[in-house]
């Protein structure tokens, strides 16, 4: 009797799916594909629209020429691109140690029973949701003026944006570290490695793809941010190449926003062309990140 029951169960399990199952499957899959397509369609139409608006204006001059209010036909985004590179360079240098460090501390060292660790966690969760413009207010009060007081320079923009995207990196890194099975770190500890050795040689490499996702998302966000920079000095017409710690600076998204508000039609075209330049930049950056991540992806 047992055997016949087992046989029946196995037969039932291996039976080909019922009509109902197939319908559900197809409906579900098509809904998902529609959803995904909607997102991709949104992206595609944005890109196509911007190319249509600004494509005619695309030329190497956009990258090599300085901005010009007198002659928008001759203007370019060189100084804004350099400003963006400076600012983002600074952001990357800051968020990797701070973000990964904080995530490692919270996941591996911190005792969640202690109130200060809970406070830190709460702070990070909260900061992830604080509007970017509030970071601009913070940057103006403490980085441009106040204790750090470096003035309206690219470094101030870097610091402000780094603080803005830091929670994103920390949250993503934590999820990545958490996803590493504890059997890996337990095994390492059992073999006599110290906690830091375990983290450095087992956990972090294993969590690397997830951490990289967080860093990429953070950088992508930082490159496109304009709001906090409006308050820390990026709204500046600059025709000479900026430096990291002196002079004025501007970044590409801020410049685009500025141009979109001008009455002359050429500025609107210029703004759209600037968007296309940004899209190309983002594409290049993301391709690099994908290539990096592809080499290290793994499943458990």
């Amino acid at each position: 009797m047992a055997t016949s029951g087992a046989r029946a169960a196995t037969a039932a399990a291996l039976r080909s799916s019922s009509q109902r199952d197939r319908v559900i499957h197809i409906t579900f899959v098509s809904m998902m594909i529609m959803a995904l397509t909607a997102a991709l369609l949104g992206l595609a139409s944005l890109i196509i629209f911007m190319i249509a608006e600004g494509g005619g204006r695309l030329e190497w001059g956009l990258l090599t020429e300085a901005p010009s209010t007198i002659d928008p036909g001759r203007a370019g985004f060189r100084t804004a691109i350099l400003g963006t590179l400076y600012v983002i360079g600074g952001v990357i240098v800051l968020i990797i140690p701070l973000g990964v460090g904080a995530a490692v501390y919270l996941e591996e060292y911190a005792n969640p029973a202690r109130w200060w660790n809970r406070l830190i966690e709460l702070n990070i969760q909260n900061l992830a949701g604080v509007p970017s413009i509030v970071f601009g207010i913070l940057g103006l009060a403490f980085i441009v003026r106040g204790p750090i007081g470096i003035g309206f320079v690219a470094a101030a923009g870097s610091l402000t944006l780094a603080l803005l995207v830091l929670p994103t990196v920390i949250l993503a890194a934590r999820e990545a570290i958490r996803a590493v099975p504890s059997s890996i770190s337990d095994g390492s500890l059992a073999l006599g490695a110290t906690q830091w050795q375990t983290i450095r040689r087992q956990v972090l490499p294993a969590a690397f793809p997830g951490i990289l996702t967080g860093i990429i998302l953070a950088i992508a966000r930082a490159i496109g941010e304009a709001a906090p920079l409006l308050l820390v000095g990026a709204v500046t017409f600059v025709t000479f190449n900026p430096k990291f710690l002196s002079d004025g600076y501007s970044t590409l998204p801020v410049m685009i926003y500025q141009y979109s508000n001008r009455p002359q039609d050429e500025f609107r075209v210029l703004a759209a062309a600037g968007v296309v330049v940004m899209l190309i930049l983002v594409l290049l950056m993301n391709s690099f990140a994908v290539w990096l991540r592809d080499r290290f992806e793994q499943t458990w």
Binding site: G90, F237, F240, G248, D265
Partner: protein, 324 residues
């Protein structure tokens, strides 16, 4: 695996540092006085989004003559600009309105003495759709539409306009800039008698004066008010109303602004300079350049230039500043 991982991180780090370090080349700075009247230094301007584009043109032209001087023009708004000006962070403030008493107090408390020059004129234009059968309005009528507590909802509600019934029954939609704008301050003071006094159901276009143009273009019964440079750029679908301030209908043209007949919506645009900034030769030189070439700058930027008398006045003023 470990080696590749380390290499990847190193690669990212190097790229980050490289992007932060590059770009230093390509600067053309003369580090010492060229001897032939070449100056070096920085001039930092900030302030109004209306005057900003004008100063940008001035900066570009000036830097073509004096490549050793770095002029930056930031746009934080007249008020935001004064905040920085009065604590010495900027050398000059572009302003679409005079400095307020509160701002003067801040400057005084920080020992910042200042003076100002006028650099251009502006004609606030009241725009409507070109198809609308109204070409001229009195100040009283405009105020009736825009004042606090206004009950004007249709074109027929406006006193003294002779309109056909179908036009009179159409609802009027009014657009205006946000209360953060100097244009708003100026308009409300000029038309309603008090800065900030306005009906509270107009459609706020924020900082985007272009949006008012677009709104008026597409809605035959809409009305908005915008700075002159935006009206100049607007197409055929938009027209500016002539304003009757007691002396007949006066059109919004540069000439009428310059000979002061376009009242009360003609205004001056200024740049304030701080005393300690003017003590630096490059700032003074820039201020002189700005005023001397004000007419050309205004024309390039599509603003209303000053009259010859105003130009002469300002030139004398700057000369006095130079001497003092």
């Amino acid at each position: 695996m470990k080696l590749r991982f380390t290499r990847a991180i190193a690669l990212i780090g190097v790229l980050a540092l490289a992007s932060a370090a590059c770009g230093g080349g390509g600067d053309t700075t003369t580090t010492a006085d060229g001897g032939s009247g070449q100056l070096t230094g920085t001039v930092r301007l900030d302030g109004s989004s209306t005057v900003g584009p004008l100063s940008e043109v001035a900066a570009e032209l000036y830097m073509a003559q004096q490549p050793g001087v770095r002029v930056t023009v930031a746009i934080s708004g007249t008020g935001g600009g004064f905040q920085k000006f009065c604590i010495g962070e900027t050398d000059g403030n572009d302003s679409s309105r005079p400095i307020t008493d509160e701002e003067i107090a801040i400057c005084t408390s920080n020992d910042i003495g200042f003076d100002f020059v006028q650099v251009a004129n502006d004609a606030l234009s009241i725009v409507v759709n070109a198809e609308l059968p109204v070409d001229c309005m009195t100040v009283a009528q405009v105020s009736q539409i825009w004042d606090d507590g206004s009950t004007v909802q249709t074109w027929g509600d406006i006193d003294g306009l002779d309109l056909s019934d179908d036009v009179a029954s159409e609802a009027i939609t009014v657009y205006g800039p946000g209360s953060d704008s100097g244009t708003f301050d100026f308009f409300t003071e000029a038309i309603n008698g008090e800065s900030g006094r306005i009906r509270n159901d107009y459609i706020d276009i924020g900082e985007d004066d272009l949006a008012a143009v677009r709104a008026v273009e597409s809605d035959p019964y809409a009305m908005g008010y915008i700075p002159f440079s935006y009206y100049q750029e607007a197409g055929e679908a938009v027209k500016a109303l002539a304003i009757d301030d007691g002396d007949g209908c006066v059109e919004a043209t540069p000439e009428n602004v310059q000979d002061l007949t376009y009242t009360p919506l003609g205004r001056g645009l200024f740049v304030y300079f701080s005393d300690f900034a003017l003590s630096r030769p490059e700032v003074l030189d820039f201020a002189e350049f700005y005023v001397t070439n004000a007419a050309e700058i205004a024309e390039l930027a599509e603003f209303v230039a000053m009259t010859p008398e105003q130009l002469a006045d300002q030139a004398a003023k700057v000369a006095a500043l130079a001497g003092g």
